[in-house]
C-alpha cells in the first residue's frame, strides 16, 4: 500500500525521518534545511516518534551529540545546510573514522562569502573527502526514498551518509510524493545492530584513542576498504530496496542514453531539467541523453566510464567551483576515471547555478548545442566555461 500526497523536499525528508523513527536526533536550524528538523520536532512533541530530540547550540554540537549517541548504539539522524555543514566539518571525519552510521538530511546551499541562502553544491562538495557517503536527490520522491535507503546502507556498511536536495528548488517545491506505510518502512529497516557500543560495561572498550605514526595509515586504509566494498554492497541493497518498494533506482541514473551521441552529466534537480530538454530535442531528432550520478560518494567512476566511453561529446555540469582552474568536482572525478581508458569522449566542464542562479531549459539546450560543436572541433579551446555568467 502506498499513499500519494503533495510534499516539499523538506516535508518529504521529515516524513522519512518520522517513519525511520531514530533513537536520537540532535540538530540546529539553518535555512533552507530548518523545516526538516522543525517538522520532526513536532512529531516528537506529538508523540508520533520515540526519538530523544536534543536541541543544541550549534551544528558542531549537533553532530558531536550524534557521534556520542551513535557510539552508544543508537540510530541517529540530523539535518543541516551550508555553513551548518561547514561547522560540522571537524566532526564529519570523526563520525566516519569511528564507522558510525549517522544520516544527515542535507539541503544544498552556497557557502559564504558573499552570504547567500540559495542552492549550489559547494557545501557538500567541501565534505567530499570526509569519508561520508553522499547522494544527490533529483526531486522530493528521491529525497524521501534515499533518506530511508541511506539509513539502511549506512547501518549495513557502517559508514555515515548525507542525502542532499537542492536548496529551495527541491526543499521548498511542492511535488507529488508516493509514501509507504509506516510499518513497511520500519519492517524494512529493522533494528540497528551496532558493531560496538560504549555502554557495554561487561566488555569495556576505548573509542577514539590516540593513534600515531605506527598505525594511523593502517586505520585509514582499513576505513577506505569499507568504501570500496561498500560500492558493491550499495548496489545489492538498492536492488533489495527496489524489490521491496517497487522502485527502479540505480547508483547511476540514465535517460535517453543508449544511442546518444551527446550527453549531459549533472547532479540533483538539474538532471531533471536536462532530461526534460533531452526529451524535447529527441523530438527534433537530436541524439542527446543524460547521466545523473545518484551517488557521488562512493564515486562509481567505472560505471560512468561505461556509459560515456562511446559518446561523441560529454558536458559535465558542476554546481560548485573548486577555485582550482582544473574544473569542478564532478568534472575532475570523471576525467580522472577516464585516465586509464584509451578511448574517451570529448569532454567539457560547465560551471553553473552558483548561489542559486537558475539553470533554465534554454540554458541546457545551449549546453547540448555547445558540446556538439566543441566535439566537432575535437575539443579545441577552453574546456571549462561558466554559463549564465555576464561577461
Amino acid at each position: 500500500m502506498s499513499n500519494i500526497v503533495a510534499k516539499t523536499g523538506n516535508e518529504a525528508m521529515a516524513e522519512a525521518m518520522r517513519q525511520i523513527n531514530p533513537d536520537v536526533v540532535a540538530a540546529y536550524p539553518i535555512t533552507p534545511a530548518t523545516e526538516i528538523v522543525q517538522l520532526f520536532s513536532n512529531f516528537v512533541h506529538d508523540g508520533r516518534v520515540d526519538t530523544e530530540f536534543v536541541a543544541v547550540e550549534s551544528e558542531h554540537s549537533a553532530l558531536s551529540a550524534c557521534v556520542g549517541a551513535s557510539t552508544a548504539g543508537a540510530r541517529v539522524m540530523t539535518g543541516t545546510s551550508s555553513q551548518g555543514l561547514a561547522l560540522m566539518h571537524e566532526i564529519l571525519y570523526i563520525a566516519s573514522g569511528l564507522r558510525l552510521p549517522i544520516v544527515i538530511c542535507e539541503v544544498n546551499r552556497a557557502l559564504s562569502s558573499p552570504i547567500n541562502i540559495h542552492c549550489d553544491h559547494s557545501d557538500t562538495m567541501g565534505a567530499r573527502d570526509s569519508g561520508w557517503m553522499q547522494l544527490y536527490a533529483e526531486d522530493s520522491q528521491e529525497a524521501y526514498d534515499m533518506t530511508i535507503f541511506m539509513m539502511k546502507a549506512a547501518e549495513d556498511i557502517m559508514l555515515p551518509g548525507m542525502v542532499s536536495t537542492d536548496g529551495f528548488i527541491i526543499s521548498h517545491a511542492m511535488q507529488r510524493l508516493d509514501m509507504y506505510e509506516d510499518e513497511a518502512v520500519r519492517n524494512y529497516l529493522g533494528e540497528r545492530k551496532p558493531a560496538y557500543t560504549c555502554l557495554d560495561t561487561e566488555n569495556p572498550i576505548t573509542v577514539g584513542p590516540l593513534v600515531l605514526q605506527d598505525y594511523f595509515m593502517e586505520v585509514k586504509r582499513a576505513q577506505e576498504e569499507a568504501v570500496l566494498s561498500g560500492k558493491v554492497r550499495i548496489k545489492e541493497l538498492l536492488k533489495e530496496y527496489n524489490k521491496n518498494f517497487e522502485k527502479d533506482y540505480n547508483v547511476i541514473d540514465t535517460h535517453n542514453i543508449d544511442d546518444a551521441e551527446y550527453v549531459i552529466v549533472a547532479l540533483g534537480s538539474s538532471a531533471g531539467t536536462a532530461k526534460y530538454v533531452s526529451d524535447k530535442m529527441r523530438e527534433e531528432g537530436k541524439k542527446v541523453g543524460v547521466v545523473k550520478p545518484l551517488y557521488f560518494r562512493p564515486f562509481y567512476g567505472e560505471d560512468i566510464v561505461d556509459y560515456l566511453r562511446d559518446k561523441k561529446g560529454v558536458a559535465v555540469l558542476d554546481r560548485s567551483s573548486s577555485q582550482s582552474s582544473m574544473g569542478g568536482p564532478l568534472f575532475t572525478e570523471i576525467s580522472s576515471a577516464f585516465y586509464r581508458n584509451e578511448k574517451h569522449p570529448v569532454m567539457k566542464n560547465y560551471l553553473y547555478g552558483l548561489g542559486g542562479r537558475d539553470l533554465k531549459a534554454e540554458n541546457v539546450r545551449e549546453i547540448f548545442d555547445d558540446i556538439e560543436s566543441f566535439a566537432e572541433k575535437n575539443g579545441e579551446g577552453e574546456i571549462i566555461e561558466y554559463i549564465t555568467l555576464r561577461e
Partner: protein, 94 residues
C-alpha cells in the same frame, strides 16, 4: 615488542577492545628528569600519591614503596608537593 599488525588485521575504527591496556604503553622514555625518592626523609603522608597525574607512585599496604619509572613522565609535581623534601629531581642519564 611484537610485530605491528597490518591494515587487514587491526580492529575496526581504531577501537581498543581490551580494558586497562594503557599500562602496556610505556611513557617513561618521555622523561628528561627523574624524581628520586629519599626514603629516610619520607613520613608516608602520601601527598605524592595524591598529586601524581600518572599513577606512578607505587603504594603497597598503604605505604609509598617507590616510583614506577615505566610510566613516570618526569613532570616533577611530586617533588613540588612533598612537604618534607623526600623527593628530588635529577637529570636523566643518557
Amino acid at each position: 615488542m611484537s610485530k605491528n599488525k597490518n591494515w587487514k588485521e587491526i580492529d575496526m575504527a581504531s577501537l581498543i577492545t581490551k580494558s586497562g591496556s594503557a599500562k602496556e604503553f610505556k611513557t617513561g622514555d618521555w622523561r628528561s628528569q627523574r624524581p628520586v625518592w629519599l626514603e629516610d626523609k619520607c613520613t608516608q603522608c602520601l601527598f605524592c600519591w595524591v598529586f601524581c597525574p600518572d599513577s606512578s607512585i607505587i603504594v603497597k599496604d598503604g605505604k609509598m614503596t617507590g616510583i614506577d619509572y615505566d610510566h613516570c613522565k618526569g613532570c616533577g609535581i611530586c617533588v613540588n608537593e612533598c612537604p618534607f623534601g623526600a623527593l628530588e629531581m635529577e637529570e636523566e642519564k643518557k
